[in-house]
């Protein structure tokens, strides 16, 4: 009976895969000639940046990016509120691992530099706030694993401020441009480049902090937490 079930589900999966592949093939053959690349190239000069991906993400479709950051902020806040460890700085974590310590001394400055480069590169080549934020968060994870003290990640005003900073600045710019007569999220002409760089900088900080908070919020040492709640 169980074998039959497995066989049936396998067959269903295979059929679905074949159907999907056929659909992709058909879609690829009858591709509608899109004018989006031409439109993008034509209006790239007005966007304030030189890289088309950044222009789409931070200027032409910045509404999507704004909502994405909102989703990330909510995810980070829910992660923090689920944290079961009160003291986010675990003394058991302060490892005396010599190798990890030596690695950190080399890697942490290098990764911070890489994050800054990715942020700066976003205006004219692949890179940008999301990638820089992820590298920033990875630096934080490395510091966390090595037990380096990170006061800013403790639950408090600083952490909350860091989490919402990117979203708040983005929203502020959007509302300000709406009040100034332009459309919601339409940057005033001439200021687009500077505004995008400012938004990307705060976004990088916030994204890095949100991702790091999600990692730090997870209870670290299992020996620690069940005993707090009592029981066996």
């Amino acid at each position: 009976m169980r074998r039959l079930l497995v066989l049936v589900s396998l067959a269903a999966c295979t059929a679905l895969t074949i159907a999907l592949a056929l659909a992709v093939l058909v879609a690829a053959e009858s591709a509608v000639v899109s004018e989006l690349p031409q439109q993008l190239a034509a209006s790239l000069g007005r966007s304030g940046v030189e890289h088309p991906t950044t222009a789409v993400l931070l200027n032409f479709r910045s509404y999507d990016t704004l909502l994405e950051i909102g989703v990330l902020v909510i995810a980070g806040m829910s992660g923090i509120s689920l944290a079961s460890t009160r003291s986010l700085e675990d003394p058991a974590l302060r490892s005396s691992d010599v190798l990890l310590y030596a690695l950190q001394r080399w890697f942490v400055p290098l990764m911070l530099l890489l994050a800054a480069y990715l942020l700066w590169a976003g205006s004219h080549r692949p890179g940008g706030a999301f990638q820089a934020g992820a590298v920033l968060a990875a630096t934080g994870v490395l510091m966390r694993l090595g037990g380096l003290p990170m006061a800013f990640i403790r639950p408090g005003v600083l952490l909350r401020l860091g989490l919402v900073l990117g979203f708040a600045v983005f929203l502020l710019v959007a509302i300000a441009s709406a009040l100034a007569g332009e459309a919601f999220l339409a940057y005033p002409p001439g200021m687009a480049g500077g505004l995008i760089l400012a938004i990307e900088t705060v976004l990088t900080l916030s994204i890095g902090m949100i991702l790091l908070a999600l990692f730090v919020a997870a209870p670290v040492s299992a020996e620690h937490e069940p005993e707090e709640g009592g029981g066996s």
């Binding site: 991906t53 692949p126 890179g127 999301f130 590298v135 991702l211 990692f215 997870a218 299992a222």
Partner: protein
Amino acid sequence: MSWLLDGLLIVSLLVTAVAVLLSRDLFRAVVMFMAFGLLMALAWVRLQAPDIALAEAAIGAGLTGVLLLDAVSHFQRGRLREQPPGEEG
């Protein structure tokens, strides 16, 4: 020459994906997932989407992998505690 690289990439993507799904050892599944993420980043590079490749390598393979490893270590510690001592060894 490039079709060889692409073909190899597709085959290894499929193999790692199946390995993630079928592996009974959670730790091995996570390691396979990270390998899958890195190969996926290569695939994005081949599709001329370096932005997505960067994001995939940093978030998909790196941070998600770390989070999953953390979760696996919690599962295993929890399982060890549930069993009475002596049964495990």
